[in-house]
């Protein structure tokens, strides 16, 4: 059953097209990821799902109800955590939580089981002003406040941006526990490797959805052969291979290059011979693609 349904969503800001013909179906109790680089339109899409932004055209249905006509109803079933920390910095941890509980007509006690795991870690700081918390703690508090009214849907905009690797892992674990409570989770992130945390993801680029599927299926649908290349002269090789017409794409991946090709030829040999002419020694091996390779590939096809 689709409990969030987006039909032909379009949104422009002035002459900039932020979203173009977005169609999306998110199932109940699904952990859904919106993945794309900065400026892809993730935040715009999330603000439309939370009914904070009205699209130029297209419809949003939540639990089969038109979201914009019934936005007051939506407020009670959606928990939203904005990308920017948006709680009152001059109120304490407890006061923030108390405030959001009361405006939702509930109490901390009533839904404590939902936030217990997260809140126990915040409890030693409960009298501290929210503005004085560390980044990871702020994020936990924001999550608690978004959950305090026991929402059916939890929508998070880039929750892991600017958070250290350990806290990030911890955060995904927290979300996974919430998923087990039956909460449908929609999360956006610019980090491709975080796609694997989700049940299904939508890859977004320039306001368009490139593909929507499980992370496994996206990787499996990668049709080309992929090689990893390592060299002392990485950047030089990159510049040379970019103009080498026997490859379909070359991408810099940290300390290595990823080369992709459609041909069934012996790519290892061809590339090595090509770079030999420029007196560059390389190590090449065939590898399995990750989400980021798929994203790059889809992006190229789209252009």
């Amino acid at each position: 059953m689709n409990c969030i349904e987006l039909n032909n969503i379009n949104k422009s800001f002035g002459t900039i097209k932020a979203l173009a013909d977005i169609n999306l179906n998110i199932k109940k109790s699904e952990f859904f990821g919106l993945i794309g680089p900065d400026g892809a339109g993730k935040t715009t899409l999330i603000r439309i799902i939370t009914t904070l932004l009205i699209p130029d055209n297209g419809k949003v249905f939540i639990n089969g109800i038109s979201a914009f006509k019934n936005f007051k109803q939506m407020r009670k079933i959606i928990g939203y955590m904005p990308g920017k920390f948006s709680l009152y910095q001059d109120l304490s941890v407890e006061e923030n939580l108390q405030f959001f509980a009361t405006v939702f007509g509930t109490t901390i006690h009533e839904n404590y089981h939902l936030i217990e795991d997260i809140y126990v870690r915040l409890e030693p700081f409960k009298n501290r002003r929210a503005g004085a918390l560390s980044g990871g703690m702020k994020q936990k508090l924001a999550l608690c406040c978004a959950l305090i009214h026991k929402p059916e849907f939890l929508i998070l905009d880039e929750p892991t941006t600017g958070v250290d690797a350990v806290s990030r892992q911890e955060f995904w674990e927290m979300l996974n526990r919430l998923k087990k409570e039956g909460i449908t989770i929609v999360v956006s992130t610019p980090y491709m490797n975080e796609a694997n945390q989700c049940d299904r993801v939508a890859l977004i680029q320039k306001g368009k959805i490139l593909q929507t599927d499980t992370p496994e299926n996206i990787v499996a649908s990668y049709s080309k052969k992929l090689y990893s290349l390592k060299s002392d002269k990485l950047y030089e090789s990159y510049k040379l291979l970019e103009k080498f017409d026997k490859l379909s794409a070359v991408h810099l991946f940290g300390q290595e290059l990823h080369l992709s090709t459609n041909n069934n030829q012996d790519t290892t040999k061809i590339v090595r011979e090509f770079l030999d002419k420029h007196k560059i020694e390389v190590k090449i091996s065939e590898i399995k693609p990750i989400i980021e390779d798929c994203f790059m590939d889809l992006m190229l096809n789209d252009e």
Partner: protein
């Protein structure tokens, strides 16, 4: 109602935790009354004047000592030198330079009329006028005294002036404090209402907290009420506080009814707060609020009649001034405090201000949209 109560609770917590806002609320009334009443006064005292005595007669010396005895002037005697006049004025060593020409005493005695030259720095026209009047008074009274008693000239040879006896109503002592204090109270309430409201509302935008509020079931009217009510309450408290300072420190008159005074304040605060809300609809940062409000505030205050009479403005300015919220309140407050006006005396202003308040508030609330 419960929701409003929680928003109010949150607002007051935040206001009392704000390190700048709270001192502002309670320090401003003191500073403003002290600065305006004691420092920025329009009364003339201790103006520096220089006197060049070419005559060096007994009469010219008496004239100089009369100037020295005057509380208005601080006299310095300068060696006569015609070229020094402009120098003294240019370097601001003297507000006025008086030249007593040679033969002054002789001319007075001959009854043909004597002349002295007065040069006044008129950059500040108002005090130049006052200096001129005071100098002439001193010179004239000396001349009359001298001629009538000292040398027994028949008094009827001096042209008799029609005597004018003035009675100043509502402020018999022409006390500058009584004129300016009600004006300060008006400025105070305007600042509290408009500035604090707009800053507080825009802070929610600037900090991004409005985003989180917007996904809660809080209704638009609940949020606005919760945001505005604290400043309405604070405005009334500050008005009472300012009034108390005026009474205790300066013995400011309070002729009218206290309930009418606070009724007018309560209505005016709706207007001031409505303007704050309106500004916050357009501004996105606290900085923008300050620039925007400062511009309007300055114009409105200067045109409100706080320092200068509103009636002496040109017709077009008086017409424009009808949109000046401070103008109405200034008139009402002065009338209540100094004249002891009753509601029927200030009915026009009260009705105008009430209608204005309702219009501004309705427009500002309409403009404020919870969902964009």
């Amino acid at each position: 109602m419960r929701v409003i109560y929680y928003i109010l609770q949150k607002e007051f917590k935040q206001i009392f935790r704000n390190r700048i806002m709270l001192p502002i609320i309670f320090v401003i009334p003191f500073v403003q009354t002290i600065v305006f009443v004691y420092a920025a006064t329009l009364e003339l005292k201790n103006a520096d004047i220089s006197i060049m005595d070419y005559d060096k007669s007994s009469l010219s010396k008496r004239l100089i000592s009369d100037f020295e005895a005057s509380p208005f002037f601080e006299v310095s005697k300068i060696v006569p030198n015609n070229n020094a006049v402009s120098d003294l004025l240019l370097k601001d060593k003297a507000k006025a330079v008086i030249l007593i020409p040679q033969g002054f005493e002789k001319d007075v005695l001959s009854l043909d009329g004597a002349a002295i030259q007065i040069n006044i720095n008129a950059i500040d026209g108002q005090s130049a006028g006052l200096i001129n009047v005071y100098i002439q008074q001193i010179v004239n009274s000396l001349a009359i005294k001298y001629l009538s008693s000292d040398i027994n000239v028949q008094i009827n040879t001096i042209p008799a002036n029609a005597e004018i006896r003035s009675r100043f109503w509502y402020n018999p002592g022409l006390n500058f404090k009584y004129y300016i204090l009600p004006g300060i109270l008006v400025i105070l309430v305007t600042m509290m209402g408009t500035f604090l409201t707009a800053l507080n509302l825009v802070r929610e935008k600037e900090m991004g907290t409005i985003e989180q509020i917007n996904v809660t079931p809080i209704k638009k009217w609940q949020f606005i009420t919760g945001k505005l009510l604290p400043f309405w309450i604070i405005g009334i408290i500050v008005m009472g506080f300012g009034l108390l300072i005026g009474r205790l420190l300066y013995n400011m008159p309070f002729e009218g009814s206290i309930s009418l005074f606070f009724l007018a304040t309560a209505i005016y605060l709706i207007l001031a707060i409505g303007l704050g809300l309106l500004v916050s609809d357009y501004a996105n940062t606290q900085q923008q609020v300050m620039f925007l409000l400062f511009f309007f505030f300055l114009v409105f205050v200067l045109m409100s009649g706080i320092f200068t009479s509103e009636e002496s403005m040109p017709d077009w300015a008086q017409a424009v001034n009808r949109i000046n919220p401070i103008y109405y309140f200034m008139k009402i407050i002065r009338a209540i405090l100094l004249k002891g006006a009753e509601l029927k005396n200030i009915l026009t202003e009260m009705i105008s201000m009430t209608v204005y308040s309702i219009l501004v508030m309705v427009f500002a609330v309409w403009k404020y949209r919870k969902t964009h």
